[in-house]
Each structure stands twice: as structure tokens, then as C-alpha cells.
Amino acid sequence: MTTLDNSRAHELGGHGHHEGSYLTPKGGFWTTVWDWATTVDHKKIGVMYLGAVLFMFFLGGLAALAVRTELLDPVRTIQVAATDAAGKPLLDAEGKQVMKTEIVGQTLARWIPPKDEAKLGTVDYGNQLYNRAFTLHGAIMVFMVIIPSIPASLGNFFIPLMLGAKDVAFPRLNLLSWYIYVTGSIFAVCSILIGGVDTGWTFYTPYSTTTDAEHANVVLMVLGAFILGFSSILTGLNFIVTVHKLRAPGMGWFDMPLFIWAMYSTSIIQVLATPVIGITLLLLVFERMFRIGIFDPSLGGDPVLYQHFFWFYSHPVVYVMILPAFGVISEIIPVHSHKKIFGYRAIAFASLGVALVSFLVWGHHMFASSGELGATVFSALTFLVAIPTAVKVFNWIATLYKGSIALTTPMLYALMFLFLFSIGGLTGLPLGALATDLHLHDSYFVVAHFHYVMMGGTIITFVAGLHHWWPKMFGKMYNQFWANVGAWTVFVGFNLTFFTQFFLGTQGMPRRYASYVSEYQTLHIWSTVGSYVLLLGFLIHLFVFIHSLVAGRKAPANPWGGLTLEWEAESPPIEHNFAHEPIVTHGPYDFETTVPPHWNAKDYPLPHLPANAH
């Protein structure tokens, strides 16, 4: 167990150059700002990504609340008593009350009145606002929040630390990719400021090539997504090289933490699939601006071609979103149960397997498009993807067996992930089966399904990872009680919001509807109430984090007893991560044979090993 010395080396003297943490300001305010703006330190870039992603999450969340609020009440025209300017009932010549038609149920239109007088009080105007809100929500959450969330923030911060490296392989490229991300986001925000986009985040042609023809909104938004793609590619490339070249001495491929495996698989998909969406989005911009005729049938193009291109990227990207979440869960569950992960190699290969098969299933987004036999092949391949995913869930649950489970906030979230992701995964089955998909496709069932997977999977895990690594990132503990209260609130709000939508879907509620027939209203009200509870939960987390930064007690270097290398570093880590290059002598999950760094054998008694162990 000589490795314990890695972390202690500089305390005991060692080479003895004492460095401050990476958070220590370099001077006055502007010096510090300049230092952060030009930093090549992966930790600072990770924190900057975290800030940017959380800001975009706030924007996307606002749009989601707008969508849910609009859906509280179906749009309808009613006859109401007309009044004159003084507010008195208006009577006609015979003394009868004059009635006028009024539209009710358009909350957004009440809040944001139209600039154009002619649009006042029309169904179209309220619907346009709604269509912009859901497009905004989808585009921001997918391109600017979920895709970069775990890889760019937690990945940037922890991949080098977990590998025992000083930084990523290409630090300057890393900074560049952050600026590209910010540029892309600015494009998107500009597009919102000049009126927003009403295409849906999928930008399906020929709607997207013809809507708002005289405005630049759609072009700006699509270019924003195009630019964000480069950020994704560069980050992926950087991580692949980092994993290949910068592992600490003694760390073979199968000694890597599973988070690294997941990020490695993610990066491969990002590098291979993102160029396809880049080309597709660029073609879409050309189509709009120069009318070249690739996707628009009125010019001789084919709209289904666009769907194939789009989903060839966007399906693998579903796994760009979920694989990092798998990685985070594979870290949290063993650490907080002090238990070796069950089936390490199965999980690692399942990550790669998912990455591979993810390229072959894009057609399942188009079962209702054509009615071709080709759909059968895509359906079969879709079920194939379920197997490695199911294997992972079994492995995580098996890891809990005979563990020492502490219900810390990250662990609570990890267990909630298992609950929500299981629902998300299982409800994928009726969507993968051809016959049922023809009914459920483009209904609220799909909306509920992908929120269980994307939000219940990725966002919940992102928050879990944030709580897991927060002490390491900022050197402060947070109030666990209130963090747990926040977690339960999020859990209740989430299920209320999205479980109701499964029933809406099977009963026939189509997605992207600004209004609906009143039979669906009860379920919509429950769903909207759930979204407000969800907001409350996230606000609790926000206050817990702010309180932690301001008044949290200092975090120990290894609060949970983790064995991966980042726990050997200080909290927060010094600028070069480790005083000495760490040497790996134990596996990332050898909780039965290793006292965690910074812990002593009295607090962490090792179990008795049977003779046939390992």
C-alpha cells in the first residue's frame, strides 16, 4: 500500500514546492478574469463549462416551464359579453347584450403581447409563441446542455485527474473548444433575441427550409448547432488522445475507472458522428439561402433524406448523452457502497458495444415515414441495443449486494437514476416494436420516454456527479440534509411531470400541440404541477450550492473514501493536480483490499478475505 504516499508526498516534504489550489486568485480582479479567460488548465475550463452549461440549463428550463404553463389550459374561443370603453355592458339597439368572441387558454400570449396589432387575439399568435418555446427548450437542452453537460464539465475536470495526468493532451485546443461552445451558444441566443425559431429542435425539412423565410432566425440557430458540433468534435478528439497517451504509470486499459471507459466511448461517437450533422446542418443553411434543392421537394429534394442524415448523427448522440451518465453511475455506486464494481469488463465492453450498435439504429425514428420492410431491420437492431444497457443496470444493482451503502446525496441520486432510467429503458420497448410504435410515435408517450432517459438518465446523473465531485472541485462540503431534500423534491416533481405523459400518449395526445381536446386536460394539469415541483427542487439545489461556496466547511481530500486517483489530490486540487506523478498500484474499485487515500486503517477496517478471493 505504498501508494498512499502519492498524496502525502508533498506534505511530508518531497520535492516540496508548495502550490496553491487552482482556485487561488492570481492577483486583482481583472488579472484573475484574464487568467481564467486565457487558462489552459483543464480544471478551470471544466468549471467554465459548468457555469455555461448551468446557465443554458436555466434558459432551457424557463422555456420548459413556459411550455408546461401554456398547456395548463386548452385554447378555445368563447363568447363573452362585450363592454364599452367605460367597462359597462355593451347593448345593441334592441337592448340586448352584444357578445364578442374571445380566445382563452393562451397564457404566453397574455404575457408577451404581439408587436403587430393585427395579431392581437388570434389563435396563430399564441401558437407561434408556444412553438418557439418548445423549439427553444429542445434545441437548448439537447445541443447546449445535455451533450456538453457531463463530458465537457465533469469530463474535462476529472479525466486528467483520474488518469493521474497534469492536463488533457491538447490544453490549448481544450480552451478553443470552450470558446467555440460559447460562440455557438451566442448564435443560438441571438436567434432567440431576434424572434426565435419554430421548427422544433429536429429542424425537419421542408418546414425548416420555408418557415420565417424572410428572417435569419433559423439560419442563426442552425449555424449555432453547427458551430457547437466543432466544440464537441475537438473535445472528443482531445479525450481520446488523453486516454491513450496520458495514463499514469501502472494504469493499464483495464485499470482505468469506468468513467474513463464511458468517456472514451462517448468521444469515439462524437468524433465519428458529429461531422455528419455538421454537413447536414450546413446543407440545410444552403438550402434556405440558395435554394439548392437537396431536401425541399419543391426544388426536387427529398425530406426523408434529411431525416436519415439527421438521425444518423442524432441517434448515436443519444448515447453521447447517456454513456457519460453510465460512467458517473459506475463511479458513484462503488464508492458510496465501498464495494468493488460487479462485472468491470462487462460494463467496459458494454460501453463500447452500445457505441458501436448506436450507429445502426437511426432508422427507428422513421417507422411511420415509409412503411418499408427496412423498418424491420432497424427494429431488430434497436432491441439489440437494449441488451448491453440492461447488462449495465444488472451490474450496478449486483454491486449493491453485500456493500456498505451510505445514503449520501450522490448515492441517493444514483439510486433514483436506477429507478428512472429503468422506466425510461423499459418504455423504449413498445417504441422499438413496430406495431405499437405506429400508434405511439410522435405522441406524448415518446416525450415521456425520452425525458425519462435524457433527463432521468443524464441530467439526474449530472446532478449526482456534481454532488459527488463538488467537494473535490471547490474544496467545500455542502449541507447533505438540504441536498437530500432537494433530491427527493426533484424525484417527486420529475415523476409527476413525466409519468402522466405516458398516459397522455397512449390515449392519443400528439406532441408539439399548442392546444388539445379537453379530455386530456386533467393529465396536463398534473404534469404542469409536477414541473413546478421540479423547479422547486432545482432551486433548493442552487441554494445548497451557493451556501456551500459561501459558508460550507472545508472538504477533506477524500470525503467518500474513493480509490480513483482524483481522491489522492487535494481538495481543491493544486494547479498541476498532483505534487508527484502518481503511480497506480491498486485497481479503481479494490475496496476490499485497499484503505482509501487520506483515510486510516482504523476508520476503514478491511474485510476478512476468504482464501479463494481474487
Partner: protein, 401 residues
């Protein structure tokens, strides 16, 4: 699927689904047994549902058991246990495969049923445009009937107390016979979904897709068709007309009024269906009558009114031969202007209205129907009488209002 429908549907529920899988189907589907494919879809859905429930409870029970049983006790280490077991891992990889393969096969099987229409189906065509559906019957007629769907509608398809934005088309279809629809869009993509039939297919602007269904019509299931005064509709033979309504939703996002792009499929007896389509056949009708049918069946009435009230587009009352302010200056609304506005609507836009009039082709509105529309507009305009005689001498004398 609708509260308003379930009143009519009580007997359907009585002959509801059977089998172990059917427990709980009412949580998901409010209407059952519309046709064979819908029954098969619900059966598959409920089987998948119960498989999922089983797996979910199994997994969560183990998880909760572990969390409680192996909770952390200070000073007590987690006991040793193996972290790998090839036999167990093989089992939990292979067992789910059987479930998945079964679901895939069943899904494929019912899918083929939904895809392939019987050879003796009734052939129709459907045109979708922003934001309306038109179905053309085998004899070339199209349904001019529309209804307002209001959230508070007391009788679906009947009298509405609280109308929504605009009326939606009603398509009469014969019951207990396969109907096969060839679908095409005029602008962007749409998707034709009748939730009660459990099938949707996308509608493209550049290729045909097809849709087929065979809806049940049993007298016991249906209520009787009533006219606008609430009296029973009676056929020439003196029989009441049973009917069942099904909603049509557009399921592919298509813009501002995507959520208002609805329709109704009304299943009626074959004899009544034939009588209706014959009634709407334009053969042997005067141009004005033809124009009125076209006005209602081609979706004009969705935006244009004929009583002078404000709609989403200029009213047709007193439009003919009036002077319209447009973005090309003031224009006399004569025959040629009307023709141009139907075939190339963007050429001149009347001030104060959005440019969302769909383009019609001469295949949809042929010369005869065009003449009909013009004749119909003449009949609505007070300016028409002061003009020279129209080109079509068969047109009736314009009515003064």
C-alpha cells in the same frame, strides 16, 4: 378515446378485451376494439407493459432490499463477495434476449397487418396542407361537412357550445369494409393519425404513402346521427343512421395551427355513405352549387367566411367585383383576380392578412370547379348584378342581399 364518445361506447366496453394481459388496459386506452389491428396493438402493448412491470419490480425490489439490508454501519466493513460470475452474467444477458425477440416478432407481425391493405379495399385519396385535410371519394366527390370541435362539445359532431378556432372536416366512411387511402401533402410534412385505429403514417409532399383501416360499425355501439336541430337523420327508407366518430390528429409538426389540424372520421352504414357521396358528386349540379361544395370541401371555409364576419382571410361576402387593397395596389376582384389568387396566392396579398393561403393546383380545382367558385362568389356579392353577363350562361342570377 373521448369522453363524448364513451357515452356511445358503453357496449364496446362490455365486450372489452379478454386474457391475462388485458388487466389495466383502461389506464392506457379509453376506447377499445375499433378494429382488428387496434385490438392486436393493444394486446401487444399490454403484454409489453406487464413484462416491463415484472422486470421493473424485480429490479427495484432487489435494489431496495440491498439498500436496507446492507446500509452502512460505522466500523463494519463491507464483507467480501465476488465481483464477477460468468454463469450469472451469461444468464442475465441471454434471458432478456428471449423477451426482446418475442416482442420484436409480435411487433413485426402486427406491423405487416397494418401495412398491407386487403385487395378489395375502397380506394380514396387524401391531400394534406397547412392546416387541413381533404379526402376525395372514389366518385371524385369530397366531403363539404365540417364541425367545430370545442372542448365543451356536448355531442361530438353535433351541437357545440364552445367552438374552437375553426371547423374541422368530417369524412363519412362506410363501416365493416376495408378503406385504403393514398396520401400526399401539398406543402410540408404531415402525419395522419387516427388514435382509435392505433396507426399513423407520415404524409409527404413528394411521394405517396398509404393508410388503411376497417372500422367496426355495430348498431349497438353507435348512437344515431342527428341534424343541427337535434332531430334524428332519416334515410329515404325511413331508417335512422347509426354512426361512430373517430378523431384525426396531425402528428408531424407543421407550423402555427398544427394543433388545430384535426378531422373526424365518421363511420356510417354503407348505404348512407353511398347516398352522401352521391349527394356531394358535382355531376348534374349548377355552377353555384358546385362552388359551394368546393368552398366547403377544399378547406376554403376554414379561413374565408361568407357572412361578412372577420376570418383569417378576406370574407367572400361582397368580394366579387369589389376593390381590394393589396400589396400591389388596389385591385378589382374580378374573375381573373380570383383565378390568380387560387392558383398563385402570393401574387397579390390583401392588406392586413397573413400570406398563408395554400397553393391549389388545377388538378384539385379544375376549370369546372373554378367556374363554380366564381359563380358562388358572384352569388354572395352585391356588386355582381351591375356587371355584364358572366361567361357561363348557366350561372344563376346573383342574389342581392
Amino acid at each position: 378515446m373521448l369522453k363524448t364518445l364513451t357515452n356511445n361506447m358503453t357496449t364496446t366496453l362490455a365486450e372489452g378485451p379478454t386474457g391475462w394481459w388485458s388487466y389495466g388496459w383502461r389506464w392506457f386506452f379509453q376506447n377499445f376494439g375499433v378494429n382488428h389491428n387496434a385490438i392486436e396493438t393493444d394486446r401487444l402493448y399490454m403484454i409489453i407493459f406487464w413484462i416491463c412491470v415484472g422486470w421493473f419490480i424485480f429490479l427495484m425490489a432487489i435494489m431496495m432490499y440491498c439498500v436496507v439490508k446492507y446500509r452502512r454501519r460505522p466500523g463494519v466493513p463491507a464483507p467480501y463477495s465476488p465481483s464477477h460470475n460468468t454463469r450469472l452474467e451469461l444468464v442475465w444477458t441471454i434471458v432478456p434476449c428471449f423477451f426482446l425477440f418475442y416482442i420484436f416478432l409480435e411487433g413485426f407481425h402486427v406491423y405487416i397487418d397494418k401495412l398491407v391493405a386487403p385487395g378489395d379495399s375502397l380506394q380514396m385519396t387524401l391531400t394534406a396542407k397547412k392546416w387541413d385535410w381533404t379526402i376525395t371519394y372514389p366518385n371524385g366527390a369530397a366531403s363539404p361537412e365540417r364541425t367545430l370541435i370545442g372542448p365543451d362539445s356536448t355531442q361530438f359532431g353535433g351541437i357545440n357550445k364552445s367552438p374552437a378556432a375553426r371547423p374541422v372536416p368530417i369524412f363519412y366512411m362506410p363501416g365493416d369494409i376495408p378503406v385504403h387511402i393514398n396520401m400526399i401533402s401539398q406543402d410540408v410534412m404531415h402525419s395522419f393519425w387516427v388514435p382509435d385505429f392505433r396507426v399513423k403514417f407520415d404524409v409527404f409532399p413528394n411521394r405517396y404513402t398509404t393508410y388503411w383501416f376497417q372500422a367496426k360499425l355495430k348498431d349497438a355501439q353507435a348512437s344515431n346521427l342527428k341534424d343541427s336541430t337535434g332531430k334524428d337523420v332519416v334515410t329515404a327508407q325511413g331508417e335512422k343512421v347509426p354512426f361512430i366518430d373517430h378523431f384525426i390528429f396531425c402528428a408531424e409538426y407543421c407550423g402555427d395551427q398544427h394543433s388545430e389540424m384535426l378531422g373526424i372520421i365518421r363511420i356510417v352504414p354503407m348505404a348512407y355513405y353511398l347516398a352522401k357521396t352521391e349527394e356531394w358528386n358535382i355531376e348534374g349540379k349548377s355552377p353555384e352549387e358546385i362552388g359551394k361544395l368546393v368552398f366547403q370541401s377544399q378547406g376554403c371555409s376554414a379561413c374565408h367566411t361568407v357572412d361578412g364576419s372577420k376570418g383569417a382571410a378576406p370574407t367572400w361576402k361582397d368580394l366579387y367585383l369589389s376593390h381590394q387593397p393589396t400589396n400591389q395596389g388596389s385591385v378589382l376582384a374580378d374573375d381573373n383576380y380570383i383565378r390568380e389568387s387560387i392558383y398563385t396566392p402570393q401574387a397579390k396579398l390583401v392588406d392586413g392578412y397573413p400570406s398563408n393561403m395554400p397553393v391549389y393546383t388545377s388538378a384539385q380545382i379544375d376549370e369546372r370547379r373554378m367556374q363554380g367558385l366564381i359563380a358562388y362568389m358572384k352569388s354572395l356579392s352585391k356588386f355582381a348584378s351591375s356587371t355584364p353577363a358572366p361567361a357561363d350562361p348557366a350561372a344563376p342570377a346573383p342574389e342581392k342581399k
